[in-house]
Protein backbone atom coordinates (compact mmCIF):
# COMPACT_ATOMS: atom_id res chain seq x y z
CA UNK A 1 0.00 0.00 0.00
CA UNK A 2 1.16 3.50 -0.75
CA UNK A 3 0.37 6.94 0.45
CA UNK A 4 0.23 9.64 -2.20
CA UNK A 5 0.54 13.26 -1.18
CA UNK A 6 -0.16 15.92 -3.77
CA UNK A 7 0.33 19.65 -3.32
CA UNK A 8 -1.92 21.43 -5.82
CA UNK A 9 -3.44 24.82 -6.58
CA UNK A 10 -6.62 25.30 -4.55
CA UNK A 11 -8.89 26.04 -7.47
CA UNK A 12 -7.88 22.74 -9.09
CA UNK A 13 -9.29 20.70 -6.23
CA UNK A 14 -12.67 20.14 -7.81
CA UNK A 15 -11.12 18.94 -11.04
CA UNK A 16 -8.80 16.55 -9.27
CA UNK A 17 -11.55 15.19 -7.08
CA UNK A 18 -13.70 14.60 -10.15
CA UNK A 19 -10.91 12.90 -12.05
CA UNK A 20 -10.20 10.60 -9.11
CA UNK A 21 -13.86 9.72 -8.79
CA UNK A 22 -13.88 8.88 -12.46
CA UNK A 23 -11.25 6.20 -11.92
CA UNK A 24 -13.14 4.89 -8.91
CA UNK A 25 -11.26 6.45 -6.01
CA UNK A 26 -13.64 7.54 -3.29
CA UNK A 27 -11.50 8.42 -0.35
CA UNK A 28 -9.08 11.21 0.41
CA UNK A 29 -8.10 13.69 3.07
CA UNK A 30 -7.22 17.30 2.29
CA UNK A 31 -5.41 20.01 4.20
CA UNK A 32 -4.98 23.70 3.60
CA UNK A 33 -1.25 24.35 3.41
CA UNK A 34 1.04 27.07 2.18
CA UNK A 35 3.76 26.55 -0.34
CA UNK A 36 7.05 28.15 -1.08
CA UNK A 37 8.95 27.41 -4.27
CA UNK A 38 9.72 28.74 -7.70
CA UNK A 39 6.37 30.46 -7.95
CA UNK A 40 6.91 33.84 -6.43
CA UNK A 41 4.36 35.39 -4.12
CA UNK A 42 2.93 38.82 -4.63
CA UNK A 43 3.85 42.10 -3.06
CA UNK A 44 1.40 43.57 -0.63
CA UNK A 45 1.48 47.19 0.28
CA UNK A 46 0.07 48.36 3.56
CA UNK A 47 0.11 52.00 4.38
CA UNK A 48 3.16 52.47 2.20
CA UNK A 49 5.20 49.56 3.48
CA UNK A 50 5.77 46.80 0.97
CA UNK A 51 5.72 43.19 2.08
CA UNK A 52 6.48 40.14 -0.01
CA UNK A 53 3.96 37.42 0.67
CA UNK A 54 6.01 34.39 -0.32
CA UNK A 55 3.86 31.61 1.06
CA UNK A 56 1.14 30.80 -1.39
CA UNK A 57 -2.07 28.95 -0.44
CA UNK A 58 -2.10 25.35 -1.68
CA UNK A 59 -4.12 22.24 -0.99
CA UNK A 60 -2.52 19.01 0.11
CA UNK A 61 -4.35 15.85 -0.89
CA UNK A 62 -3.53 12.60 0.88
CA UNK A 63 -4.67 9.30 -0.59
CA UNK A 64 -3.97 5.77 0.52
CA UNK A 65 -4.06 3.32 -2.39
CA UNK A 66 -3.16 -0.21 -3.20
CA UNK A 67 0.34 -0.41 -4.68
CA UNK A 68 -0.92 -1.56 -8.04
CA UNK A 69 -3.04 1.51 -8.56
CA UNK A 70 -0.31 4.04 -7.86
CA UNK A 71 0.68 4.79 -11.44
CA UNK A 72 -2.86 5.31 -12.57
CA UNK A 73 -3.54 7.66 -9.67
CA UNK A 74 -0.35 9.62 -10.21
CA UNK A 75 -1.18 10.16 -13.84
CA UNK A 76 -4.73 11.17 -13.04
CA UNK A 77 -3.63 13.74 -10.51
CA UNK A 78 -0.81 15.07 -12.63
CA UNK A 79 -3.13 15.63 -15.56
CA UNK A 80 -6.11 17.04 -13.72
CA UNK A 81 -4.07 19.40 -11.55
CA UNK A 82 -1.99 20.69 -14.41
CA UNK A 83 -2.29 24.26 -15.65
CA UNK A 84 1.16 24.45 -17.17
CA UNK A 85 2.08 27.44 -15.04
CA UNK A 86 4.71 27.62 -12.36
CA UNK A 87 3.40 26.57 -8.96
CA UNK A 88 1.25 23.68 -10.11
CA UNK A 89 2.72 21.60 -7.32
CA UNK A 90 4.30 18.26 -6.55
CA UNK A 91 3.22 14.72 -5.90
CA UNK A 92 5.03 12.53 -3.38
CA UNK A 93 4.75 8.78 -2.95
CA UNK A 94 5.53 6.97 0.28
CA UNK A 95 5.23 3.45 1.51
CA UNK A 96 2.39 2.59 3.87
CA UNK A 97 2.94 -0.27 6.26
CA UNK A 98 -0.53 -0.59 7.62
CA UNK A 99 -4.02 0.81 7.32
CA UNK A 100 -6.83 0.34 9.81
CA UNK A 101 -10.45 1.40 9.49
CA UNK A 102 -11.50 2.84 12.81
CA UNK A 103 -15.14 1.90 12.47
CA UNK A 104 -14.62 -1.81 11.89
CA UNK A 105 -11.04 -2.51 12.82
CA UNK A 106 -10.44 -3.94 9.33
CA UNK A 107 -6.84 -3.68 8.22
CA UNK A 108 -4.81 -3.54 5.05
CA UNK A 109 -6.45 -3.16 1.65
CA UNK A 110 -9.84 -3.88 3.21
CA UNK A 111 -9.55 -0.68 5.14
CA UNK A 112 -9.08 1.69 2.24
Amino acid sequence: MKKIEAIIKPFKLDDVKQALSDIGLQGMTITEVKGYGRQKGHKEIYRGAEYLVDFIPKIKIEIAVAADRVDEVLETIQKSANTGKIGDGKIFVMSLEQIIRVRTGETGLEAI
Binding site: Y46, R47, A49
Partner: protein
Protein backbone atom coordinates in the same frame (compact mmCIF):
# COMPACT_ATOMS: atom_id res chain seq x y z
CA UNK B 1 -34.80 82.77 11.65
CA UNK B 2 -35.12 79.86 13.97
CA UNK B 3 -38.17 78.68 15.79
CA UNK B 4 -36.54 79.56 19.01
CA UNK B 5 -35.88 83.14 18.12
CA UNK B 6 -39.29 83.48 16.61
CA UNK B 7 -40.85 82.25 19.77
CA UNK B 8 -38.84 84.71 21.75
CA UNK B 9 -39.88 87.47 19.41
CA UNK B 10 -43.49 86.60 19.90
CA UNK B 11 -43.09 86.49 23.62
CA UNK B 12 -41.02 89.62 23.83
CA UNK B 13 -43.59 91.53 21.87
CA UNK B 14 -46.18 90.63 24.39
CA UNK B 15 -44.72 91.15 27.83
CA UNK B 16 -41.68 92.41 29.62
CA UNK B 17 -39.44 89.53 30.50
CA UNK B 18 -36.03 89.35 32.14
CA UNK B 19 -33.26 88.47 29.74
CA UNK B 20 -31.86 85.99 32.24
CA UNK B 21 -35.11 84.11 31.99
CA UNK B 22 -34.92 84.05 28.20
CA UNK B 23 -31.34 82.84 28.24
CA UNK B 24 -32.05 79.92 30.52
CA UNK B 25 -34.62 78.19 28.39
CA UNK B 26 -34.13 74.61 27.30
CA UNK B 27 -35.09 74.00 23.70
CA UNK B 28 -36.32 70.43 23.36
CA UNK B 29 -35.22 70.22 19.71
CA UNK B 30 -31.70 71.38 20.43
CA UNK B 31 -31.57 69.08 23.43
CA UNK B 32 -32.81 66.15 21.39
CA UNK B 33 -30.09 66.76 18.83
CA UNK B 34 -27.27 67.18 21.32
CA UNK B 35 -28.25 64.10 23.34
CA UNK B 36 -28.11 62.11 20.12
CA UNK B 37 -24.93 63.82 18.95
CA UNK B 38 -23.35 62.89 22.26
CA UNK B 39 -24.44 59.29 21.91
CA UNK B 40 -22.95 59.26 18.41
CA UNK B 41 -19.61 60.60 19.58
CA UNK B 42 -19.59 58.14 22.46
CA UNK B 43 -20.12 55.30 19.99
CA UNK B 44 -17.10 56.47 18.02
CA UNK B 45 -14.64 55.33 20.68
CA UNK B 46 -15.54 51.80 21.84
CA UNK B 47 -17.13 50.84 18.50
CA UNK B 48 -15.79 53.00 15.63
CA UNK B 49 -12.25 53.65 16.70
CA UNK B 50 -11.87 50.30 18.44
CA UNK B 51 -12.71 48.53 15.17
CA UNK B 52 -10.72 50.92 13.04
CA UNK B 53 -7.63 50.47 15.16
CA UNK B 54 -7.92 46.80 16.07
CA UNK B 55 -8.50 45.83 12.47
CA UNK B 56 -5.21 47.51 11.61
CA UNK B 57 -3.23 46.00 14.45
CA UNK B 58 -1.71 42.60 14.01
CA UNK B 59 -3.96 39.68 14.85
CA UNK B 60 -2.06 38.80 17.97
CA UNK B 61 -2.77 42.28 19.36
CA UNK B 62 -6.32 42.78 18.18
CA UNK B 63 -7.98 42.48 21.57
CA UNK B 64 -5.29 44.47 23.32
CA UNK B 65 -6.05 47.34 20.96
CA UNK B 66 -9.74 46.93 21.74
CA UNK B 67 -8.99 46.91 25.46
CA UNK B 68 -6.87 50.05 25.32
CA UNK B 69 -9.53 51.88 23.35
CA UNK B 70 -12.33 50.79 25.64
CA UNK B 71 -10.46 51.61 28.79
CA UNK B 72 -9.55 55.04 27.41
CA UNK B 73 -13.19 55.93 27.12
CA UNK B 74 -13.98 54.49 30.55
CA UNK B 75 -11.19 56.43 32.21
CA UNK B 76 -12.21 59.58 30.36
CA UNK B 77 -15.78 59.10 31.56
CA UNK B 78 -14.79 59.02 35.20
CA UNK B 79 -12.03 61.63 35.09
CA UNK B 80 -14.21 64.09 33.24
CA UNK B 81 -17.07 64.15 35.70
CA UNK B 82 -14.79 64.14 38.71
CA UNK B 83 -12.17 66.73 37.80
CA UNK B 84 -11.83 67.10 34.05
CA UNK B 85 -14.92 69.16 33.37
CA UNK B 86 -14.13 71.70 36.00
CA UNK B 87 -10.49 72.01 34.91
CA UNK B 88 -11.77 72.74 31.41
CA UNK B 89 -14.98 74.67 31.88
CA UNK B 90 -14.69 75.92 35.45
CA UNK B 91 -14.11 79.65 35.99
CA UNK B 92 -11.04 80.72 34.04
CA UNK B 93 -7.70 81.31 35.75
CA UNK B 94 -5.40 83.49 33.72
CA UNK B 95 -6.59 82.08 30.42
CA UNK B 96 -4.76 78.86 31.22
CA UNK B 97 -7.00 76.55 33.20
CA UNK B 98 -10.43 76.29 34.76
CA UNK B 99 -11.02 76.39 38.52
CA UNK B 100 -12.02 73.50 40.74
CA UNK B 101 -15.51 74.84 41.49
CA UNK B 102 -17.26 72.00 39.71
CA UNK B 103 -15.43 68.97 41.11
CA UNK B 104 -17.89 66.07 40.90
CA UNK B 105 -20.04 68.46 38.87
CA UNK B 106 -20.68 70.34 42.07
CA UNK B 107 -23.01 73.27 41.45
CA UNK B 108 -24.66 71.78 38.41
CA UNK B 109 -28.08 70.27 38.72
CA UNK B 110 -30.93 68.91 36.70
CA UNK B 111 -32.20 72.43 36.00
CA UNK B 112 -28.89 73.94 34.92
CA UNK B 113 -28.92 75.15 31.36
CA UNK B 114 -26.06 75.90 28.96
CA UNK B 115 -27.23 77.81 25.91
CA UNK B 116 -30.44 76.03 25.06
CA UNK B 117 -29.60 72.58 26.43
CA UNK B 118 -29.31 71.09 29.91
CA UNK B 119 -25.81 71.56 31.31
CA UNK B 120 -25.61 67.83 32.03
CA UNK B 121 -25.95 67.19 28.31
CA UNK B 122 -23.22 69.70 27.57
CA UNK B 123 -20.97 68.01 30.14
CA UNK B 124 -21.50 64.64 28.56
CA UNK B 125 -21.03 65.95 25.03
CA UNK B 126 -17.66 67.32 26.07
CA UNK B 127 -16.85 64.12 27.93
CA UNK B 128 -17.07 62.11 24.75
CA UNK B 129 -14.46 64.38 23.16
CA UNK B 130 -12.04 63.83 26.00
CA UNK B 131 -12.59 60.09 25.75
CA UNK B 132 -11.90 59.82 22.06
CA UNK B 133 -8.92 62.15 22.08
CA UNK B 134 -6.89 60.05 24.45
CA UNK B 135 -7.96 56.90 22.61
CA UNK B 136 -6.66 58.38 19.34
CA UNK B 137 -3.19 58.62 20.84
CA UNK B 138 -2.85 54.88 21.12
CA UNK B 139 -2.84 54.51 17.37
CA UNK B 140 0.83 55.40 17.53
CA UNK B 141 1.78 52.85 20.12
CA UNK B 142 -0.21 49.64 19.79
CA UNK B 143 1.57 46.28 19.68
CA UNK B 144 4.13 47.06 22.36
CA UNK B 145 2.92 49.12 25.32
CA UNK B 146 2.13 47.77 28.76
CA UNK B 147 -1.53 47.90 29.60
CA UNK B 148 -0.83 49.25 33.07
CA UNK B 149 1.37 51.99 31.62
CA UNK B 150 -1.39 52.91 29.23
CA UNK B 151 -3.85 53.33 32.07
CA UNK B 152 -1.53 55.59 34.02
CA UNK B 153 -0.55 57.52 30.93
CA UNK B 154 -4.14 58.09 29.86
CA UNK B 155 -5.09 59.36 33.29
CA UNK B 156 -2.22 61.81 33.51
CA UNK B 157 -2.48 62.90 29.90
CA UNK B 158 -6.18 63.69 30.09
CA UNK B 159 -5.61 65.73 33.22
CA UNK B 160 -2.49 67.62 32.35
CA UNK B 161 -2.57 67.90 28.58
CA UNK B 162 -6.11 67.53 27.32
CA UNK B 163 -7.92 69.64 29.89
CA UNK B 164 -5.66 72.69 29.57
CA UNK B 165 -5.79 72.74 25.77
CA UNK B 166 -9.55 72.22 25.74
CA UNK B 167 -9.80 75.09 28.21
CA UNK B 168 -7.67 77.36 26.04
CA UNK B 169 -9.87 76.81 23.03
CA UNK B 170 -13.37 76.22 24.30
CA UNK B 171 -13.36 76.95 28.01
CA UNK B 172 -12.66 80.66 27.94
CA UNK B 173 -8.87 80.38 27.71
CA UNK B 174 -6.37 82.45 25.77
CA UNK B 175 -6.60 80.69 22.45
CA UNK B 176 -10.31 81.20 22.09
CA UNK B 177 -9.91 84.77 23.32
CA UNK B 178 -7.25 85.37 20.69
CA UNK B 179 -9.84 84.39 18.09
CA UNK B 180 -8.51 80.99 17.07
CA UNK B 181 -11.16 79.08 15.14
CA UNK B 182 -11.54 75.45 16.09
CA UNK B 183 -15.10 74.34 15.52
CA UNK B 184 -14.96 70.76 16.70
CA UNK B 185 -11.40 70.04 17.71
CA UNK B 186 -8.60 70.42 15.18
CA UNK B 187 -6.22 71.62 17.86
CA UNK B 188 -7.88 70.12 20.89
CA UNK B 189 -8.44 66.68 19.47
CA UNK B 190 -6.42 65.85 16.39
CA UNK B 191 -3.20 67.84 16.49
CA UNK B 192 -3.08 67.19 20.19
CA UNK B 193 -3.56 63.42 19.89
CA UNK B 194 -1.35 63.09 16.83
CA UNK B 195 1.63 64.87 18.34
CA UNK B 196 1.22 63.09 21.66
CA UNK B 197 1.15 59.79 19.81
CA UNK B 198 4.35 60.60 17.99
CA UNK B 199 6.13 61.55 21.19
CA UNK B 200 4.99 58.39 22.91
CA UNK B 201 5.99 56.27 19.92
CA UNK B 202 9.46 57.80 19.87
CA UNK B 203 10.01 57.14 23.53
CA UNK B 204 8.67 53.59 23.26
CA UNK B 205 10.82 52.77 20.28
CA UNK B 206 10.00 50.67 17.27
CA UNK B 207 8.23 47.34 17.32
CA UNK B 208 10.48 44.32 17.03
CA UNK B 209 10.88 43.47 13.38
CA UNK B 210 9.58 46.84 12.21
CA UNK B 211 10.57 47.45 8.61
CA UNK B 212 11.59 43.81 8.16
CA UNK B 213 8.69 41.55 9.09
CA UNK B 214 5.34 41.74 7.42
CA UNK B 215 2.92 43.42 9.79
CA UNK B 216 -0.41 42.77 8.25
CA UNK B 217 -3.61 44.29 9.54
CA UNK B 218 -5.65 41.62 11.29
CA UNK B 219 -8.78 42.56 9.45
CA UNK B 220 -9.31 45.24 6.85
CA UNK B 221 -13.00 44.32 7.14
CA UNK B 222 -13.14 45.46 10.75
CA UNK B 223 -11.17 48.58 9.89
CA UNK B 224 -13.55 49.48 7.08
CA UNK B 225 -16.55 48.93 9.33
CA UNK B 226 -14.85 51.06 11.94
CA UNK B 227 -14.34 53.85 9.41
CA UNK B 228 -18.02 53.70 8.48
CA UNK B 229 -19.05 53.97 12.12
CA UNK B 230 -16.58 56.80 12.69
CA UNK B 231 -18.09 58.66 9.76
CA UNK B 232 -21.57 58.11 11.20
CA UNK B 233 -20.49 59.31 14.62
CA UNK B 234 -18.54 62.26 13.26
CA UNK B 235 -21.82 63.90 12.30
CA UNK B 236 -22.45 64.18 16.02
CA UNK B 237 -18.90 65.40 16.53
CA UNK B 238 -19.02 68.20 13.98
CA UNK B 239 -22.66 69.12 13.54
CA UNK B 240 -23.20 68.59 17.25
CA UNK B 241 -20.53 71.15 18.05
CA UNK B 242 -22.98 73.85 17.03
CA UNK B 243 -24.90 72.82 20.17
CA UNK B 244 -28.18 73.49 18.38
CA UNK B 245 -30.27 72.03 15.59
CA UNK B 246 -30.09 74.97 13.23
CA UNK B 247 -28.76 76.12 9.87
CA UNK B 248 -25.12 76.21 10.93
CA UNK B 249 -25.43 72.67 12.23
CA UNK B 250 -26.88 71.74 8.85
CA UNK B 251 -23.96 73.38 7.09
CA UNK B 252 -21.39 71.68 9.33
CA UNK B 253 -23.18 68.42 8.65
CA UNK B 254 -22.98 68.91 4.90
CA UNK B 255 -19.32 69.86 4.69
CA UNK B 256 -18.38 67.01 7.01
CA UNK B 257 -19.88 64.49 4.64
CA UNK B 258 -18.32 66.13 1.58
CA UNK B 259 -14.85 66.25 3.02
CA UNK B 260 -15.00 62.63 4.12
CA UNK B 261 -16.10 61.47 0.69
CA UNK B 262 -13.44 63.56 -1.00
CA UNK B 263 -10.75 62.31 1.36
CA UNK B 264 -11.66 58.71 0.58
CA UNK B 265 -11.64 59.23 -3.17
CA UNK B 266 -8.45 61.26 -3.09
CA UNK B 267 -6.52 58.70 -1.03
CA UNK B 268 -7.85 55.89 -3.21
CA UNK B 269 -6.90 57.55 -6.48
CA UNK B 270 -3.52 58.58 -5.12
CA UNK B 271 -2.57 55.03 -4.24
CA UNK B 272 -4.16 53.68 -7.39
CA UNK B 273 -1.93 56.01 -9.33
CA UNK B 274 1.24 55.33 -7.39
CA UNK B 275 0.96 51.67 -6.48
CA UNK B 276 -1.56 50.43 -9.04
CA UNK B 277 -4.00 49.24 -6.41
CA UNK B 278 -6.91 51.01 -4.80
CA UNK B 279 -7.16 49.40 -1.37
CA UNK B 280 -9.99 49.23 1.09
CA UNK B 281 -7.57 50.26 3.80
CA UNK B 282 -6.79 53.33 1.71
CA UNK B 283 -10.45 54.22 1.26
CA UNK B 284 -11.08 53.80 4.98
CA UNK B 285 -8.02 55.84 5.86
CA UNK B 286 -9.06 58.55 3.42
CA UNK B 287 -12.46 58.84 5.05
CA UNK B 288 -10.79 59.48 8.37
CA UNK B 289 -8.28 61.92 6.85
CA UNK B 290 -11.12 63.93 5.31
CA UNK B 291 -13.07 63.92 8.55
CA UNK B 292 -10.08 65.04 10.59
CA UNK B 293 -9.31 67.94 8.27
CA UNK B 294 -12.87 69.30 8.23
CA UNK B 295 -13.21 69.09 12.00
CA UNK B 296 -11.87 72.54 12.92
CA UNK B 297 -13.48 74.09 9.84
CA UNK B 298 -16.92 72.49 9.91
CA UNK B 299 -18.94 75.46 11.14
CA UNK B 300 -16.97 78.06 9.23
CA UNK B 301 -16.49 76.97 5.63
CA UNK B 302 -18.74 76.39 2.65
CA UNK B 303 -19.22 73.48 0.31
CA UNK B 304 -16.53 74.43 -2.20
CA UNK B 305 -13.96 74.74 0.56
CA UNK B 306 -14.92 71.35 1.93
CA UNK B 307 -14.27 69.73 -1.43
CA UNK B 308 -10.75 71.13 -1.39
CA UNK B 309 -10.14 70.39 2.27
CA UNK B 310 -11.09 66.76 1.79
CA UNK B 311 -9.11 66.41 -1.41
CA UNK B 312 -5.92 67.74 0.12
CA UNK B 313 -6.42 65.70 3.28
CA UNK B 314 -6.69 62.45 1.34
CA UNK B 315 -3.53 63.09 -0.63
CA UNK B 316 -1.66 64.43 2.38
CA UNK B 317 -2.62 61.43 4.47
CA UNK B 318 -1.48 59.08 1.75
CA UNK B 319 1.90 60.72 1.43
CA UNK B 320 2.41 60.99 5.12
CA UNK B 321 1.93 57.29 5.75
CA UNK B 322 3.50 55.97 2.57
CA UNK B 323 6.48 58.27 2.19
CA UNK B 324 7.09 60.58 5.10
CA UNK B 325 6.89 57.88 7.76
CA UNK B 326 9.31 55.65 5.90
CA UNK B 327 11.69 58.52 5.29
CA UNK B 328 11.71 59.72 8.86
CA UNK B 329 11.78 56.22 10.22
CA UNK B 330 9.55 56.49 13.30
CA UNK B 331 7.16 53.65 14.06
CA UNK B 332 3.73 55.26 14.31
CA UNK B 333 1.98 51.88 14.36
CA UNK B 334 -1.44 52.89 13.05
CA UNK B 335 -0.56 56.41 11.96
CA UNK B 336 -2.17 58.52 14.64
CA UNK B 337 0.37 61.21 13.86
CA UNK B 338 0.33 60.69 10.10
CA UNK B 339 -3.40 60.96 9.81
CA UNK B 340 -4.67 62.87 12.84
CA UNK B 341 -1.66 65.07 13.45
CA UNK B 342 -0.95 66.16 9.91
CA UNK B 343 -4.50 66.35 8.62
CA UNK B 344 -5.45 68.17 11.81
CA UNK B 345 -2.78 70.78 11.08
CA UNK B 346 -4.01 71.07 7.52
CA UNK B 347 -7.58 71.53 8.75
CA UNK B 348 -6.60 74.22 11.22
CA UNK B 349 -4.72 76.09 8.49
CA UNK B 350 -7.55 75.60 6.02
CA UNK B 351 -9.95 77.14 8.51
CA UNK B 352 -7.77 80.24 8.45
CA UNK B 353 -7.85 80.23 4.67
CA UNK B 354 -11.44 79.34 3.85
CA UNK B 355 -13.57 80.58 6.77
CA UNK B 356 -16.47 82.29 5.05
CA UNK B 357 -18.41 85.03 6.82
CA UNK B 358 -21.61 83.72 5.25
CA UNK B 359 -21.56 80.68 7.51
CA UNK B 360 -20.86 81.87 11.03
CA UNK B 361 -19.45 85.36 10.58
CA UNK B 362 -15.76 84.48 10.77
CA UNK B 363 -13.55 85.22 7.75
CA UNK B 364 -10.32 83.61 6.61
CA UNK B 365 -7.55 84.76 4.30
CA UNK B 366 -9.54 84.18 1.13
CA UNK B 367 -12.29 86.37 2.48
CA UNK B 368 -9.94 89.25 3.17
CA UNK B 369 -8.80 88.43 6.68
CA UNK B 370 -5.13 87.36 6.62
CA UNK B 371 -4.94 87.88 10.35
CA UNK B 372 -7.01 84.78 10.87
CA UNK B 373 -4.34 82.66 9.24
CA UNK B 374 -1.73 84.09 11.56
CA UNK B 375 -3.93 83.33 14.55
CA UNK B 376 -4.40 79.79 13.31
CA UNK B 377 -0.66 79.31 12.91
CA UNK B 378 -0.04 80.61 16.40
CA UNK B 379 -2.64 78.25 17.78
CA UNK B 380 -1.17 75.29 15.91
CA UNK B 381 2.37 76.01 17.01
CA UNK B 382 1.31 76.55 20.59
CA UNK B 383 -0.66 73.32 20.62
CA UNK B 384 2.21 71.35 19.17
CA UNK B 385 4.71 72.84 21.55
CA UNK B 386 2.61 72.36 24.65
CA UNK B 387 1.56 68.84 23.72
CA UNK B 388 5.02 67.73 22.73
CA UNK B 389 6.70 68.92 25.88
CA UNK B 390 3.83 68.12 28.18
CA UNK B 391 3.40 64.63 26.79
CA UNK B 392 7.10 63.97 27.12
CA UNK B 393 6.94 64.81 30.79
CA UNK B 394 3.84 62.71 31.28
CA UNK B 395 5.48 59.82 29.46
CA UNK B 396 8.51 59.86 31.70
CA UNK B 397 6.42 60.09 34.82
CA UNK B 398 4.43 57.11 33.58
CA UNK B 399 7.59 55.21 32.81
CA UNK B 400 8.89 55.84 36.26
CA UNK B 401 5.58 55.05 37.95
CA UNK B 402 4.99 51.78 36.14
CA UNK B 403 8.54 50.50 35.88
CA UNK B 404 8.95 50.86 32.15
CA UNK B 405 6.47 51.45 29.37
CA UNK B 406 7.10 48.49 27.19
CA UNK B 407 6.10 44.85 27.44
CA UNK B 408 8.75 42.14 27.65
CA UNK B 409 10.17 41.11 24.31
CA UNK B 410 8.75 37.61 24.48
CA UNK B 411 5.33 39.04 25.28
CA UNK B 412 5.63 41.26 22.22
CA UNK B 413 6.54 38.24 20.10
CA UNK B 414 3.80 36.09 21.60
CA UNK B 415 1.28 38.85 21.16
CA UNK B 416 -0.42 40.94 23.79
CA UNK B 417 -3.81 39.28 23.54
CA UNK B 418 -2.39 36.07 24.85
CA UNK B 419 0.39 37.48 27.00
CA UNK B 420 -1.53 40.23 28.78
CA UNK B 421 -5.18 39.29 28.51
CA UNK B 422 -5.07 35.53 28.09
CA UNK B 423 -7.60 35.74 25.25
CA UNK B 424 -7.91 35.18 21.54
CA UNK B 425 -9.92 37.48 19.27
CA UNK B 426 -11.52 34.70 17.25
CA UNK B 427 -11.96 31.05 18.10
CA UNK B 428 -13.60 30.07 14.87
CA UNK B 429 -11.61 27.04 13.79
Amino acid sequence: MTKKSMLLTAVLLLMPISSAFAADVIDSGDTAWIIVATALVMMMTPAGLALFYSGMSRYKNLLNTFAMTFVSYCLGSIIWVVWGYTLTFGPDHGGLIGGLDHLFLNGIDVNSVSGSIPTFVFVLFQLTFAGITVALVLGSVVDRMKFSSWIVFATLWLTFIYCPIAHWVWGGGWMGEMGALDFAGGNVVHINAGVAGLVLALVLGKRKGYGRDAMFPSSVTLTALGAALLWFGWFGFNAGSQLAADGVAGSAFLVTNTSAAMGALAWMFAEWYFTKRPTVLGIASGVVAGLVAITPAAGFVNLQASLIIGLVAGVLGYFSVSTLKLKLGYDDSLDAFGVHGLCGIWGALATGLFASPAISGASGLFYGNPKQLVIQIVSIVATIAFTAIGTLIVVYITKFATGGLRVELDQEVEGLDSALHGERAFEIG
